[in-house]
């Protein structure tokens, strides 16, 4: 059986060398995603992409404290979302009504007087409510500023120690990766996912089109040898895309793995094992090279988005998370950034077992389909 497996591996690798078109989607998809989402985070939600006006009609120390918090609260919010620019009321209102300014905050006259006399003082935000996400982000920012003011945590120290209730925080990672860094890390995995799926789906569909697969299936080669040989061949073939994509992504985005390289390699290997039989299944079911590719691209893109490629799925409702958990890509995307950004082995077992299980179960399904194909022909 070993001889047959080696022969199949050699044959598949030769075919991949002769027709390296599978590298197309493996490179186009991750780079395009990376470009698109880097632009997205930079323009619609990263750093200080939107400006917010600040109008101060009160000259009291309290009003100045509030303004200082609003303008400098980066240390508290971590992710600022918008920058603050001071305007007079007429200018801010005109810009706001012309939709040139998304929002402005008004600290009204008498703000300080109210505070010192023990009365409520209200800050008003005028907001362009183009959708509820915008409103959410601006409410959060203003609310955090108001809370800091009430806690007495003013600029520059933001010291909450004298507040009735303060918040102390700890994080799972030493440093918070930016959205673009996260995207860069998962784009490496995306390249491998696209390559594993597309190459195997195209290979199998091509063999159906040329009727080479039927000949192989009808030969005395055991089906297990066939599956194992094809899976082993898929490993270097899938890694070939990473030889190009990984260095480009790492160096251009200045993102390098912090976790154990061997563990990362293991995650990639498990991903290949889980996805190759799925690619085989796509090729066997569709039997047309073009359509098999379409299906593989569709599976890659949706598996990537649904599995948490853009943002971890932790915020999704439990039912949706459960549904997404069926996809092996979800488990790969859970494991990969975890080890990429921290040197940890915690929490890897479930997803590792799931990927191994997927490999075994889908391979068994493929063997069964091969048997049916032989019976049919």
């Amino acid at each position: 059986m070993l001889r047959e497996i080696i022969a199949i591996v050699k044959k598949d690798l030769k075919q991949a060398k002769r027709d390296p078109k599978f590298l197309g989607p493996s490179l186009i998809i991750p780079f395009a995603f990376l470009l698109v989402f880097t632009i997205m985070w930079a323009s619609v939600g990263g750093g200080e992409s939107f400006a917010c006006g600040l109008v101060i009609e009160d000259t009291s120390p309290e009003a100045n404290n509030m303004a200082g918090i609003i303008e400098n609260m980066v240390s508290t919010t971590n992710h600022t979302w918008f920058s603050i620019e001071r305007f007079d009321l007429d200018t801010a209102d005109e810009l706001y009504r012309n939709t040139e300014l998304i929002a402005y905050i008004l600290i009204p006259e008498g703000f300080g007087e109210n505070i010192t006399s023990g009365q409520n003082a209200t800050v008003t935000m005028f907001i362009n409510n183009a959708n509820d996400d915008i409103v959410k982000n601006y409410v959060h920012r203003l609310e955090a500023a108001v809370l800091l003011f009430n806690q007495g945590a003013v600029y520059p120290d933001f010291d909450q120690s004298g507040a009735p209730i303060s918040i102390s925080e700890s994080f799972s990672l030493m440093a918070t990766p930016s959205n673009a860094e996260y995207m860069a890390a998962v784009a490496i995995l995306l390249s491998l996912i696209a390559c594993s799926l597309a190459s195997q789906a195209m290979l199998t569909a091509t063999e159906f089109e040329t009727e080479a697969l039927q000949d192989t299936l009808n030969s005395p080669t055991p089906r297990l040898a066939l599956i194992l040989g094809r899976t082993i061949a898929a490993i270097p073939r899938s890694f070939s895309a990473l030889l190009i994509s990984a260095p480009i992504i790492c160096f251009s985005m200045n993102v390098f793995p912090k976790g154990n390289i061997l563990v990362l390699f293991g995650i990639l290997l498990l991903t290949i094992l889980a996805l190759v039989p799925i690619g085989e299944l796509i090729g066997m079911k569709i039997r047309n090279r073009e359509q098999a590719l379409l299906a593989a691209v569709l599976f890659t893109v949706t598996g990537f988005i649904l599995g948490g490629g853009m943002a971890p799925i932790g915020l999704s409702p439990a039912l949706i998370r459960l549904g997404m958990g069926i996809l092996p890509t979800t488990h790969s995307l859970f494991l990969w950034p975890r080890v990429f950004f921290s040197d940890t082995l915690l929490g890897l077992t479930t997803s590792t077992l799931y990927l191994l299980g997927t490999w075994i179960v889908i391979s068994a399904v493929v063997i069964r389909l091969m048997k049916k194909e032989v019976e049919r022909t």
Binding site: M125, N129, E143, A144, L147, I167, N179
Partner: protein, 389 residues
């Protein structure tokens, strides 16, 4: 001179091919729906569902009005997302779940919390946040800060003299996910047109029927124009599904006139079909056309304001983006969807109209030229010449 009979024949043939291959139409419909499901699933976690599962560790041995009040506020429905779904658990379980990545947020209420607040002393609650990336970190931390502010405004009135109010510009705030479905309809037209027209070209190369076409004594330009028009028709396949789905899920239709939508997207489809046949003639293989169409479409969906209405919130498209016809269509349609206004419609209509008209004329010609070039053969010839030298 182009024969309209040939254009029509080519168009009818392509439509027949599409009818014979329902899987391809399914892709045109399914991909935008998948994008919607994907983005909705991810971003929806912030907007719907029971909220972010949050471990609350209660170390307070003698909970009273303040402790119970804080726990109650943490679990209360909040119109501003993300909402929290507090689950009381012991510190060890919470820590294990947090370390394993099964829970992303832990709030610990310390022992002595009640006593400190009763006696006007300071106390600190501790939060553990899975800072996987900036946006997620923001969406986990900010609700806690908001809930604490609500607690201040409810239970610590002497310490919450400052408060705030919001004044909206418009009477109606569109739900973000409905907004995304509306803008994805524009994406679906763009993707559908490039893919359908590109696929109509690549199939001729893949099935080796291109020579038959060019030797058929019919104008290739007329044939390619027919293929282009078939792309325009196919590109609208997903649009009704997206609008109906967004209505069923969020109960809102976009503002504006359907006629304006159809006019702008028809011109966009014409322009994109032109790009599609050139792309198909260049790549000659659907391996490249599918990702180019899908990801090119996503690129413009994002930079055109598909996720956030850039132009409406004062963020500039940028000089480069301002004069690209796809962005013009997004700009006018987004304004129409959200406000029901048409401020930029004349200029945007003019720009996309000019591009559509130009591409209707030049795309078949360029595709004809490109399909006559055999890049592979040229490379081979160059190699042979170098070998000879």
């Amino acid at each position: 001179m182009i024969s309209f009979r040939v254009v029509k024949a080519s168009f009818v043939k392509e439509i027949r091919v599409w009818r014979r291959n329902p899987q391809k139409i399914v892709l045109v419909i399914l991909l935008p729906l998948m994008f919607f499901a994907g983005f909705g699933g991810l971003m929806g976690g912030v907007y719907f569902g029971s909220g972010v599962e949050t471990a609350v560790v209660l170390n307070e041995q003698n909970p009273g009005v303040y402790t119970d009040g804080l726990i109650e506020i943490l679990g209360e429905y909040d119109p501003v997302p993300p909402r929290l779904d507090p689950i009381l658990m012991d510190a060890e379980t919470a820590n294990r779940l947090f370390q394993n990545g099964d829970i992303l947020l832990v709030i610990t209420i310390p022992d002595g919390f009640e006593d400190a607040l009763t006696n006007n002393e300071s106390v600190s609650i501790h939060i553990q946040v899975a800072n996987i990336h900036e946006d997620l970190t923001k969406n986990l931390r900010m609700p806690v800060i908001r809930k604490l502010d609500i607690f201040y405004q409810t239970y610590l009135l002497n310490d919450s003299l400052a408060d705030f109010k919001m004044v909206n510009l418009r009477p109606f705030t569109p739900p973000r996910l409905a907004y995304m479905a509306w803008t994805l309809s524009v994406y679906s037209v763009m993707f559908g047109a490039i893919f359908a027209a590109g696929s109509a070209m690549t199939q001729e190369f893949e099935q080796e029927t291109m020579d038959e076409l060019t030797l058929s004594n019919q104008s290739p330009i007329a044939i390619y124009t027919g293929k282009m028009l078939s792309g325009v028709v196919i590109s609208f396949a997903a649009v009704p599904f997206l609008f109906i789905l967004s209505y069923l899920l969020f109960g809102v239709w976009p503002n504006g006139e359907i006629l304006t939508f159809l006019l702008l997207t028809f011109l966009l489809a014409l322009f994109c079909s032109g790009i599609g046949i050139i792309t198909g003639a260049f790549f000659r293989n659907s391996v490249f056309v599918v990702p180019v169409a899908a990801l090119g479409g996503v690129f413009y969906w994002i930079v055109g304001g598909g996720i956030a209405p850039l132009e409406l919130v004062g963020a500039s498209f940028g000089t480069f983006n301002e004069y690209l016809p796809v962005s013009n269509v997004y700009r006018s349609l987004i304004r129409m969807f959200v406000e029901g206004g048409y401020v930029t419609l004349p200029i945007d209509f003019l720009v996309i109209g000019i591009f559509a008209a130009v591409f209707l004329v030049i795309s078949p010609m360029i595709a004809d030229r490109v399909s006559n070039l055999n890049l592979g053969q040229m490379v081979e010839d160059a190699k042979r010449r170098r070998g000879r030298n």
